[in-house]
């Protein structure tokens, strides 16, 4: 698992522009520009309560990487919808996992291959302390399959303009405010359903 910050979008997000009434491409340069101009992600990706009819229990998380939404199921067919950024690794699987561990201001340890590519990361070989510059952001939810760490995480980011994008790396990333909000709601053991998004997912978890 790597958490490099490069941009290379395997598929482009589209967002709905309410003013023009059209779906428009949402790519990294536009995302940066949008964030610089408005200081926030497009309305589409801002946290909100939405209708969500499902048989899943309140407290379950549903990740729709295709639309860049994460749903936290509430009672009475409602859900909190958060915008997410999705790493390319996040497109490698679909299935059911659970929150096995939670951490505040988590430590990030760059993988070996990333250190080889960028020797400046050597100093973090034993872990980069949590903090505002840490790629995992303010909180991390570690996703487990049965009792094993799947190596996938839902985590915060210090690059909020990446919400709504498919990135070259990373797992499921959220604005720090949003990941703190989610962290405070989610209990350990909560079920996480990662939806089918494209053919590559069906190679299995």
């Amino acid at each position: 698992m790597s958490f490099g910050m490069g941009f290379s979008s395997p598929t482009q997000t589209q967002i709905y522009d309410a003013r023009s009434g059209k779906w428009v491409s949402y790519d990294p340069s536009q995302a940066r520009e949008y964030f610089q101009r408005y200081g926030q992600t497009p309305e589409e990706f801002q946290r909100r309560i939405v209708p969500f009819r499902t048989a899943e229990k309140p407290g379950t998380i549903v990740i729709d990487a295709d639309r860049h939404f994460l749903y936290y199921i509430l009672p009475d067919f409602q859900a909190i919808r958060y915008g997410i950024g999705v790493g390319r690794e996040g497109f490698g699987w679909a299935g059911i996992v659970h929150v096995g561990r939670k951490a505040e201001w988590p430590t990030w340890t760059p993988p070996k291959d990333m250190i080889e590519r960028d020797p400046r990361l050597t100093k973090y070989a034993n872990g980069m302390p949590g903090g505002i510059d840490n790629p995992l952001g303010a909180r991390a939810l570690y996703l487990y399959e049965k009792n094993r760490d799947s190596l996938y995480r839902i985590h915060g980011t210090n690059e909020p303009w990446t919400i709504g994008l498919n990135l070259s790396s990373g797992c499921i990333r959220m604005n720090n405010d949003d990941v703190i909000d989610l962290y405070n709601r989610v209990t350990r053991g909560a079920k996480v359903i990662v939806l089918m998004t494209g053919a590559s997912l069906f190679k299995g978890v």
Binding site: Q12, K57, L195, M196
Partner: protein
């Protein structure tokens, strides 16, 4: 719903090995064991039958969660007396083995009509002009289901291991939409959550569907039109038995009419004839089974509590079944 695939061989093997070992474990004479397979409508029916049998016939009932194949094997060897919900034609192989060949199991004649096919959300039907199953084979129309930018759509055809999933592969091949759509298999929970998310965002979605099922109570769904079932155009070659099963099979028409039946051990006709007669006269319907399933799955009612309430609220209907019994 776990559909029957290659498990008949396992079931038959189990029976043979038990017989060879001289093992035959019988339930207590005054105890009825209902096998409960993994899907929710069967669970609901099992609890309702349990409550009725205890109330009206004064027997002790045990519910045993196990696989389809093991329930049939259990009805054969005397360890299980009732299967609350067998899907036909999906489990025809088990029916043929135990009802027709071994004659150790009886199918109750009153089936609940069931349906299966490919569904889309109402928004997909109305907004994207996807009306027939043949539309999926149209490359331009299939593109509306594309989520990964490769120009082909994606469709959930069921869970790995379901009998119906193999059949849906054959149908996609026969109709030709295996060339325009990526056929996706995933656990039912994932497939159904994808339907929930698609409805929430208006995203086009096509998927294998069957009813009675609570998803039809949750969402507005539409079966895609397709030619009526024609037995001459429906030939399913067992994937386990023949490597060329996909090429040799045919299923380019609608599924045959499907039914849910209660099955029970033939031995019950000797040991508890009044219960065997009652099981023959139980007359459920698709709305009842759907509502039961919805209560258990969506409303998360306790199955035993729900069954008690349902039985108490339908006393006359249940009395009618008992009076109808031989």
């Amino acid at each position: 719903m776990i559909r029957f695939g290659s498990v008949v061989a396992v079931a038959i093997g189990l029976v043979v090995s038990l017989a060879a070992a001289g093992q035959s474990v019988s339930a207590r004479a005054d105890e009825i064991v209902i096998g409960v397979p993994s899907w929710s409508s069967a669970n609901a029916t099992a609890h309702v039958l349990e409550t009725i049998l205890e109330d009206r016939f004064g027997v002790d009932v045990v519910l045993k969660e196990t696989s389809n194949a093991e329930i049939f094997a259990g009805m054969d060897d005397g360890t299980i007396q009732i299967h609350p919900e067998v899907w036909l034609p999906n489990y025809k192989a088990l029916h043929d083995e135990y009802v027709l060949r071994r004659k150790s199991v009886v199918m109750s004649p009153r089936g609940v009509p069931a349906s299966q096919g490919i569904c889309v959300t109402q928004a997909t039907y109305d907004g994207d002009g996807i009306h027939t199953i043949q539309d999926l084979a149209d490359p331009e129309k299939a593109k509306v289901f594309d989520t990964n930018g490769d120009g082909r759509g994606e469709i959930w055809i069921g869970a790995p291991g379901w009998n119906s999933t193999k059949v849906e592969q054959i149908r996609a091949h026969d109709y030709g939409y295996d060339k325009t759509m990526q056929l996706l298999q995933a656990e039912e929970t994932v497939g159904l959550a994808a339907v929930d998310a698609a409805v929430a965002t208006g995203k086009p979605m096509a998927f294998y569907c069957y009813e009675p099922h609570h998803v039809f109570e949750l969402h507005d769904l539409v079966y895609l039109d397709e030619p009526a079932h024609d037995p001459r155009k429906w030939q399913i070659v067992d994937a386990e038995a023949d490597g060329d099963w996909l090429e040799k099979s045919k299923a380019g028409v609608a599924w045959p009419p499907s039914f849910l039946h209660i099955f029970y051990a033939k031995a019950l006709e000797e040991s508890q004839p009044e219960i065997a007669s009652f099981l023959k006269s139980v007359n459920l319907d698709v709305d009842t089974v759907s509502q039961m399933t919805y209560a258990l799955v969506v409303e998360r009612r306790d199955p035993a509590e729900f069954a008690r309430e349902w039985v108490d609220g339908h006393g006359e209907r249940i009395s009618g079944w008992i009076e109808d019994a031989d």
